[in-house]
């Protein structure tokens, strides 16, 4: 066996440099590694590196080593395109990105155009966190796959939970001023007024993305509005600082969030003392009752010293490997075809599906609340508090229709 491998290693260069370039599967990780989004970007990078190590320990993808190439985009669409080009020039055929739908939109465009102009050298774009619905509707692309539930799906689930909470009477919306934040605010308005016409929207705020150092003025405004509930899609330092300012001012409202679990969020919630009044909508969390994911969480925390914020990243990498196995190739076109319609047992348990029509992954969605937890469960950021499940929405109930009309190669 060893001899065979040795012979192959010697023989390989004869197939030319193209064969050599494919010895490793490089995944370009394009996300903020500096600036206001750096905390989430770093967390994501460590997650993907951990997952690459996991795949490599099992022999890689089709025997090829997986390598994550970190590229800093400073949450800037323009910078992302430069980094994407740089990655492609150095032999990357797969890029993954998540933070910022404005970035995701630019990257999806870029990849689609690049593939039209460079047949045979296609690049696939795996999106693990940018949730603007437009990416799998009007602007859908064959080369883009999304593992996170889009913000409409999440808002649908969140408002389904909220409509059964009689204590909610006055809602305040505060969001980041860009495509995703605006999409959260419009869907929240539309869905809340449809499902609970008695709920009053007492404020609807947009603020600049990742530029605010002190949220105290915004908190004063929320307070003055008499809101009992805040809905926000904020992420990165914007959610941590928002919660921190609320804690300082002693603002007591319920929070319905997309990303309160990100870096700094749990610490700030603990300071507010809002026990199980901060809710988050995700495709999974540490305390989901599922043996395998809990074992993974334990090992992940021991090695990376972070909570797993991105169960979907696990789905993404494992499905990538499974699709390559199925296609018996790491060629992006074949992998993309294998991914279409693929059914997959997701990380936190349950069946997921990559819908062929729009390349949106569907999976069970959870609403969880943050507060004290039974002994032995996972806490966050050493606060002693952790996430507790309050609702689970099965895959079938998250299937929203799409307007995507996809061109396939």
């Amino acid at each position: 066996m060893k001899r065979l491998i040795a012979a192959m290693v010697i023989a390989l260069p004869m197939f030319g440099s193209a064969a050599l370039a494919q010895e490793t599967v490089k995944i370009g990780y394009i996300d903020p590694l500096s600036g206001g989004g750096a905390s989430v970007g770093e967390g994501g990078l460590k997650t993907f590196q951990y997952l690459a190590d996991e795949l490599n320990a099992k022999g890689g993808i089709l025997g090829k080593k997986v390598e994550i190439v970190p590229l800093d985009n400073k949450t800037n669409p323009q910078e992302s395109l430069i980094q994407a080009q740089k990655a492609i020039d150095s032999g990357v055929r797969y890029i993954t990105q998540g933070n910022g739908s404005s970035v995701a939109g630019a990257l999806a465009d870029f990849v689609t155009k690049y593939n039209e102009r460079n047949p045979g050298k296609e690049v696939l774009y795996f999106n693990y966190a940018a949730v603007d619905p437009v990416l799998t509707n009007e602007k859908c692309s064959f080369w883009h796959f999304r593992w996170d539930a889009n913000s409409d799906i999440k808002m649908e689930a969140l408002t389904n939970y909220m409509k059964d909470q009689p204590s909610i009477k006055k809602v305040y919306l505060i969001n980041q001023d860009y495509s995703f934040g605006q999409s959260v605010r419009t869907t929240a308005r539309a869905m809340l007024s449809k499902k609970r016409s008695d709920i009053q929207i007492v404020g609807d705020e947009l603020h600049p993305l990742l530029k605010i150092t002190d949220f105290a003025p915004y908190i004063a405004k929320i307070k003055a509005s008499g809101a009992d509930t805040v809905v926000t899609g904020n992420w990165g330092q914007d959610i941590a600082l928002l919660l921190k300012a609320a804690a300082d001012a002693g603002l007591k409202v319920s929070w319905y969030t997309y990303y309160a679990g990100g870096a700094g969020g749990p610490t700030a919630i603990k300071q507010t003392g809002l026990n199980h009044q901060v809710f988050q909508i995700t495709e999974g969390f540490a305390n989901v009752a599922h043996k395998e994911s809990q074992d993974f969480e334990k090992a992940f925390r021991a090695k990376v010293d972070l909570s797993l914020w991105y169960p979907r990243a696990v789905n993404e990498m494992r499905m990538f490997a499974a699709a390559a196995d199925k296609a018996k190739s790491v060629d992006p076109v074949k992998v993309a075809q294998a991914l279409e319609g693929m059914k997959f047992e997701v990380f936190n348990g349950g069946q997921g599906e990559m819908r062929k029509d729009d390349h949106q992954f569907f999976q069970p969605i959870y609403v969880s609340s943050f507060g004290d937890i039974p002994a032995g469960q996972f806490d966050e950021e050493k606060t002693g508090w952790g996430w507790k499940q309050v609702a689970k929405i099965d895959t079938a109930q998250t299937m929203l229709p799409t307007t995507c009309k996809m061109d396939r190669p």
């Binding site: 590694l33 500096s34 600036g35 206001g36 750096a38 905390s39 970007g41 770093e42 967390g43 001023d177 705020e205 947009l206 603020h207 600049p208 530029k211 605010i212 150092t213 002190d214 105290a216 003025p217 915004y218 908190i219 004063a220 405004k221 307070k223 003055a224 330092q237 941590a240 600082l241 921190k244 300082d248 001012a249 002693g250 603002l251 870096a263 700094g264 610490t267 950021e381």
Partner: protein, 315 residues
């Protein structure tokens, strides 16, 4: 309404005083040395990270003393071994030097402490609500920030205007040769002033670190606004910087609380505009543009009063 006004005033003053704490060092260095230090916010960041590290080891109070000393020592060294040599090549070289320094410091900080925010908390002694107004709490820590800023402002003014040291320092700027002939070491005076200026920034860093966020991009986030403070206040004027800080803090805070837009004021006059290509400008609220208000102020000041509010020198 009254509630919002009172609370916004408080928030604005708090934010403004923090700005002043950072801008005071910058304006002192500028007025004494004539150097516009682009790396000033980086020393603020160094103060925050040194403060974080020292408070890990010895607690918050030693950090409040030693972190500024350390950052000040680095500042003095930068003046002695860097700026002084560069100075011979004129102002542009100086600006470029401090500009480059800012990037170097940011990179070093992110190598040592990483890019994820560090967990820097207020000391337990000050971790309680000082008072409650209209059911909004004001943490004792924020009051402490306010007190320190005022003490530093008064202290600096007294030193510069009322003491021999201040006299010599001011004379050294305008008549360095004369001061030198009187037996004072002018170069050492400049070095000390630069050290004190950067130490002041570091004090702001230690104090603001737990309240805002201590991470490697904090300098880049606050750098631009400091220049607004210094220019609006008048280059080199300490009281000017004080007034400008408060003004900017208040303007920004109040702007956030105004929901009005052109549409809500003039809406009845031009209902069709809401749908036209002007709709973006028509519908944007004051709150949405609050963060750019200080820069608007900067532009207006430069047009109508280039020397700033209290500045005496034309630039």
């Amino acid at each position: 309404m009254l509630e919002l006004v009172v609370i916004s005033t408080l928030n604005g003053v708090l934010y403004g005083m923090l700005l002043f704490l950072m801008a005071s060092g910058l304006t002192v260095i500028f007025s004494m040395l004539g150097v516009l230090n682009f790396a000033h916010a980086s020393f603020y960041m160094l103060g925050a990270f040194f403060g974080f590290q020292i408070s890990r080891w010895f607690g918050f109070w030693p950090a409040l003393i030693f972190a500024p000393l350390l950052a000040g020592a680095i500042g003095a060294a930068v003046e002695r071994f860097g700026l002084r040599r560069v100075h011979r090549n004129g102002h542009v070289a100086e600006l470029l030097f401090t500009f480059g320094l800012a990037f170097a410091i940011e990179e070093i900080v992110s190598i040592i402490w990483g890019k994820v925010p560090v967990d820097f908390r207020p000391p337990a002694l000050l971790d309680f609500p000082a008072f409650t107004i209209f059911s909004t709490n004001y943490p004792a820590y924020k009051m402490f920030m306010l007190a320190i800023s005022i003490v530093i402002f008064i202290g600096l003014l007294l030193v510069l205007k009322r003491t021999r040291i201040g006299l010599i320092v001011q004379a050294a700027l305008t008549h360095p040769h004369m001061v030198g002939h009187l037996g004072h070491n002018v170069e050492r005076i400049f070095m000390l002033v630069f050290g004190v200026g950067t130490a002041l920034a570091a004090v702001a860093g230690v104090i603001a670190g737990p309240s805002l966020v201590t991470q490697s991009n904090m300098a880049a986030m606050l750098g631009p606004i400091l220049f607004v403070v210094v220019v609006v206040g008048g280059l080199g004027s300490l009281p000017g910087a004080f007034i400008a800080s408060l003004l900017i803090g208040l303007v920004q805070t109040f702007a956030v609380s105004v929901n009005g837009s052109l549409a809500s004021v003039f809406g009845p006059l031009g209902p069709d505009l809401a749908q036209s290509w002007l709709s973006d400008i028509w519908n944007v609220t004051i709150a949405q543009i609050a963060p750019i208000m200080p820069y608007l102020l900067l532009v207006l000041i430069l047009i109508f009063r280039p020397m700033g509010l209290l500045g005496t020198r034309e630039t």
